[in-house]
């Protein structure tokens, strides 16, 4: 029973990782930029979600507006930060991104205060019990949201014109441009979707811990990098599987080796082992 419960807890944790990391892997696939500031958009989404839910009294409105807010902010980051330096070596964009993340963290602290924010009355906290496993509604919603959002993402990329254009741009930006696909539009779309997903993850994490802090993006900022490397950089399915695997390994690791290894250390130990066996990650895209 304990093992099943640990497995489920791992899936919940892994689901939050997946929703964050997918946006990051999309950006990497398209621009070859390690977008560290993605974790800042995750935090922004969480803040917007909590504030707007407290204001409107509706969690749905909170999530929806947070996703749009972070999505637009993501597009702005692409336009103002990455676009001007796209033809520089990749580390330039990486450094810009790290700087941007640190700046965002301090900005959140200045604007929203150092104590962090909580829901006035946290929604989705009712407990569902089956076979003596207690799960809060928000935990179940986290897993369902993960499945739905990633399903939508798969549908967009496989079935819609814009999605096909996006995959074509990832494969070969010049040829796809010759076929009338606007690469800039595709980039805006990817930044919007990835950032909106990060915002949804932010609100879900806020529901799970009822706390939004300026520094809450710190762990996702580097752990999601480990996840996308594990999943084979730029590979969406790989990222999803790597996220869930990491969540489960952390859940068991926390209990059985937690007194020796930190939860974050477990993630990186796992990464090192995988890279030693398979240097391209679990699911290399090419």
């Amino acid at each position: 029973m304990l093992y099943i419960e640990l497995f489920i807890q791992g899936l919940i944790q892994g689901s939050t990782y997946a929703i964050i990391a997918v946006g990051l892997t999309l950006v990497y696939g398209l621009l070859r930029v390690l977008h560290v500031a993605h974790a800042g958009l995750f935090t922004l989404g969480a803040y917007l979600g909590v504030i707007l839910t407290n204001q409107t009294g509706s969690l749905t409105a909170g999530i929806f507006l947070a996703a749009i807010g972070s999505g637009v902010m993501g597009m702005a980051i692409y336009r103002l930060v990455y676009e001007p330096i796209l033809n520089r070596p990749p580390h330039v964009a990486l450094i810009a991104s790290i700087g941007l993340y640190i700046g965002m963290e301090e900005l959140f602290r200045l604007v929203f205060g150092p104590f962090g924010l909580s829901f006035v009355s946290a929604p989705l906290q009712s407990v569902v019990v089956f076979f003596d496993i207690h799960l809060r509604a928000c935990q179940i919603i986290t897993m369902i949201t993960n499945i739905i959002l990633l399903g939508i993402l798969a549908w967009i990329s496989q079935r819609t014109r814009i999605g096909i254009g996006w995959r074509a741009t990832v494969d070969d930006p010049e040829i796809s441009a010759c076929f009338g696909i606007d690469p800039v539009r595709v980039r805006y779309l990817v930044f919007f979707m990835g950032s909106a997903l990060a915002a949804v993850a932010g609100v879900l994490v806020a529901l799970l811990s009822n706390l939004v802090e300026p520094t809450m993006g710190a762990v996702p900022s580097y752990k999601s990098l480990a996840i996308i490397v594990l999943g084979g950089l730029g590979n969406v399915t790989g990222t999803l599987i790597a996220s869930l695997a990491l969540g489960i390994i952390e859940a068991f690791g926390t209990i059985y080796v937690g007194n020796l290894l930190d939860r974050d250390a477990i993630a990186f130990a796992f990464l090192i082992v995988v890279l030693m066996i398979k240097p391209t990650g679990l699911f290399a895209s090419r």
Binding site: L6, G10, I12, T16, S118, Q139, T215, T254, G258
Partner: protein, 381 residues
């Protein structure tokens, strides 16, 4: 030529002001985390210190001079506090230094103050090595070990719970609490079923909670700060665990109750600030702090307030800002402050009683007091 003249003039003006200021006020140095992950505690401790300075100045200052608080941000980072300590001593020429910060930065600053022979007071950092820096370093709050021992008495004797699971924050705060708790667990008949450790960045405790549930303890001794304890306690309660959760001063503050909501009810902590105290000092502090800061007082604020008052009284008793005289006055001080009566032992560690607080109807309230001088005796060396 004109530029040169202007430069000389400006230098003259600067020198005039710096020398005249040095004559009119007594400077107290203060390092606190104003940015970074511990910024909330830095905010509270600075407000506490500012309140004390304001009150002392309104009552005429010390030896006819006003106090001036010089605050620097150490980001709760040991490498930041070293240049800050040097700056406070060398540039600002403070009479006394106070740490409104965590153990790491306080430890590294303590050595520098000791070397310079300037008194330094740790307001709420709990690591044992801080006062071991030397005879110029004092601490107005409990050592982690001392508070851990009080936790053992609270669970084993006052609550009568014997089968305990420990959830320990993996930093020097959590570890020294755990060490003190384990040291006295046997004395109070406690069996420690299991101990789980977590990192300060963790907010999701699903795995630990699941395991604790299968351990089926009588009580849980969980160390942490409000930002880890809030999520931890609400996740423990959501999983159907109903046994008492015992925390420490890291939980202390309204924010913990805000995060954990209904799950916070019944949580008991060992701390320094009694909200239902009948002592005038404590009642005044709680009221004045809320007026100044605009939010409810917490342990960190009360501790910083106490530390500044202790420093001020020592300077008054010494009738001078000669560091050696202040040090001697500190060593023999006895002051009734918001966190209790402050007296130091030979190592500069405080001797006072532990206040246990419980959450009732969304507020911290008095639960019990542990006043056992033998149990709470800090080390002398």
């Amino acid at each position: 030529m004109k530029n040169k003249l202007l430069l000389i003039l400006m230098m003259g003006v600067c020198m005039y002001f710096s020398s005249s200021w040095a004559g009119e006020t007594i400077k107290i140095g203060f390092n606190a985390p104003l940015t970074g992950f511990a910024a909330s505690d830095g905010k509270s401790s600075s407000f506490g210190a500012k309140l004390a300075v304001k009150q002392i100045n309104e009552n005429g200052g010390i030896n006819g001079k006003k106090l001036e608080l010089v605050i620097y941000d150490d980001q709760a980072n040991a490498s930041q506090s070293i240049p800050i300590a040097n700056k406070l001593i060398g540039q600002d020429k403070v009479a006394v230094g106070i740490s409104g910060s965590y153990s790491g930065p306080t430890r590294s600053a303590a050595g520098i103050f000791q070397e310079a022979g300037i008194p330094y007071i740790s307001a709420y950092a709990i690591h044992p090595d801080i006062t071991k820096a030397g005879n110029y370093v004092f601490r107005t709050s409990f050592l982690g070990e001392v508070q851990g021992r009080a936790g053992a008495k609270l669970i084993g004797e006052i609550l009568g719970k014997k089968k305990v699971v420990m959830i320990t924050l993996k930093n020097d705060f959590g570890k020294s609490l755990a060490a003190g708790f384990k040291e006295k667990a046997k004395t109070f008949g406690i069996t420690i079923v299991n101990e789980y450790q977590y990192s300060i960045k963790d907010r999701q405790f699903g795995a630990i909670v699941a395991k604790v549930k299968s351990d089926n303890p009588d009580a849980i001794y969980a160390s942490g700060y409000y930002f880890t304890a809030g999520p931890l306690v609400s996740q423990l309660r959501a999983s159907g665990i109903t046994v008492p959760v015992i925390g420490q001063e890291g939980y202390d503050g309204q924010k913990f109750i805000e995060i954990a909501g209904k799950a916070a009810e019944g949580v008991i902590i060992t701390t320094s600030l009694d909200r239902d105290s009948t002592a005038q000092e404590t009642k005044d502090f709680i009221r004045n702090f809320e007026e100044l800061a605009g939010y409810k007082a917490d342990m960190v604020a009360a501790s910083a307030h106490t530390a500044v008052q202790v420093a001020a009284l020592a300077m008054e008793k010494a009738k001078s800002i000669d560091p050696e005289k202040i040090r001697a006055a500190l060593a023999g001080i006895s002051l009734k402050a918001s966190t209790g009566t402050i007296e130091f032992n030979s190592l500069g560690e405080v001797r006072k009683s532990v206040q246990n607080q419980v959450v009732k109807n969304g507020q911290w309230h008095h639960h019990s007091v542990i006043d056992d001088p033998e149990l709470l005796a800090p080390p002398e060396k």
